[in-house]
Amino acid sequence: MELGFSAIFRRDLLLAFRHRAEIANPVIFFLIVVTLVPLGLTPEASRLAEIAPGILWVMALLASLLSVEGMFQSDYRDGTLEQMIILPQPLYLMVLAKILVHWLVTGLPLTLLAPVLGMMLSLPEAGYLPLVFSLLMGTAVLSLVGAIGAALTVALKKGGLLLSLIVMPLYMPALIFGASTVQRAVDGFSVDGPLAVLGALLAFSLLVSPFATAGALRVSMHG
């Protein structure tokens, strides 16, 4: 049981390390887009502070969406996915390992970078900690949900648009409760409620996503 999980986990981390440029992509996208906001809208601190929570969350979501497409693609192209499916080991654990690695190399860096970008958008001080906590859980939800879409579209030549259409509606709850966590903190309200909902979303997708993704991969490989 443990074997498939740890073997895939270690292999994918090693591969991510070998493809450093690809890992940097979403982080650089996040950085660039957020840098452009004050230039395009207004450099005025008070107006930026109003929109900062929403902007940071939307951009983190798009950055995550950008990277999710490739989650199974290289495995599909080089035939390792074909091998994984017929291993005498539970596929959902191997899938979970892949999702975990995806989160470690995209969601986690985005989360750690967010406070710095919050400073650039003059996010009020009360928002920083809720921003980090909401992104920490939220990006994990995004990786888990995105994996289902990535698995469904892996065999398609141009699955990018379809993937966005499948995944976007499922991203909405995470975005709504993530952004409202930060907004409520800035406005001086308690953030327990939205954070709890995010936690529930995380628990639910953690439970469902590996099974759904494994099933979707089997369907894709049938083509």
Partner: protein
């Protein structure tokens, strides 16, 4: 070099039965009524023109695809009931080599062995040297030629404990010497009591090899080679 040190461990008797397998895709019958019985020591060559369903048939045997009709039996039991034991005994090499391009042949082999729960982490260098990749153990696969990548994938044959080998076009991109070495490796596996199913367009120099010919359904009924001694169903 593909010759192994003589390995005399014998496999326990195995049997694989294909019963009246059929596969339909987009309302087109790819093949139907394919039936074969294989037992320890058998080598089956699946042949036929391009697009006749060789790869599909092999993927059905690996359980990655399910047939539209018919049954697969392993040791006389339906494969869905003994899927775990069957997969433990299965080695599949597809069209795609299943190598991670950013990893070296050695890393690929180590990763594959870990996933397949084969114990030994040792001798990977010796195995790669025997397969003809001495000096390339640490070179990333994207720097290797097509033939070398194929060899890196074939290295699995030397470390696997599986008794059933399903090989899809294993001779692609392999040089002449490699072909004869691979043939002797197949003969040896068969002598140890293993079963091999492979698809290839080459005429193999292995005595006693059985053939299964698939034809285009549109050009006539798909049938097994009449000379084959273990034909169960003839369409």
């Amino acid at each position: 070099m593909l010759t192994t040190e003589p390995n005399t461990d014998l496999f326990s008797p195995n049997s694989l039965d294909l019963r009246a397998l059929a596969f339909e895709r987009d309302d087109r019958m790819l093949f139907s009524n394919v039936g074969v019985s294989l037992k320890s020591g058998d080598i089956l060559q699946v042949e036929g023109p391009n697009g006749c369903g060789k790869t599909t048939l092999l993927r059905i045997i690996t359980t990655a695809l399910s047939p539209s009709a018919g049954q697969l039996l392993w040791q006389g039991q339906n494969i869905s009931q003994v899927r775990q034991t069957f997969l433990h005994n299965l080695l599949f090499l597809g069209h795609l080599p299943g190598l991670k391009q950013a990893l070296s042949p050695e890393e690929n082999l180590i990763w594959w062995r870990r996933l397949n729960q084969s114990q030994a982490e040792c001798c990977n260098n010796e195995v790669l040297a025997r397969i003809g990749l001495r000096g390339y153990e640490d070179v990333p696969c994207f720097n290797l030629s097509a033939g070398q990548q194929r060899r890196a994938a074939l290295a699995r044959l030397l470390v696997t404990k599986a008794s059933l080998w399903v090989l899809d076009e294993p001779f692609t991109a392999i040089d002449k010497q490699g072909v004869s070495e691979l043939e002797s490796l197949l003969t040896e596996h068969s002598a140890r009591g293993g079963i091999i199913i492979l698809s290839t367009h080459q005429d193999l120099g292995i005595p006693g090899i059985e053939r299964l010919s698939l034809r285009h359904e549109s050009l006539g009924q798909k049938a097994l080679d009449q000379n084959s001694p273990f034909v169960v169903d003839v369409a």
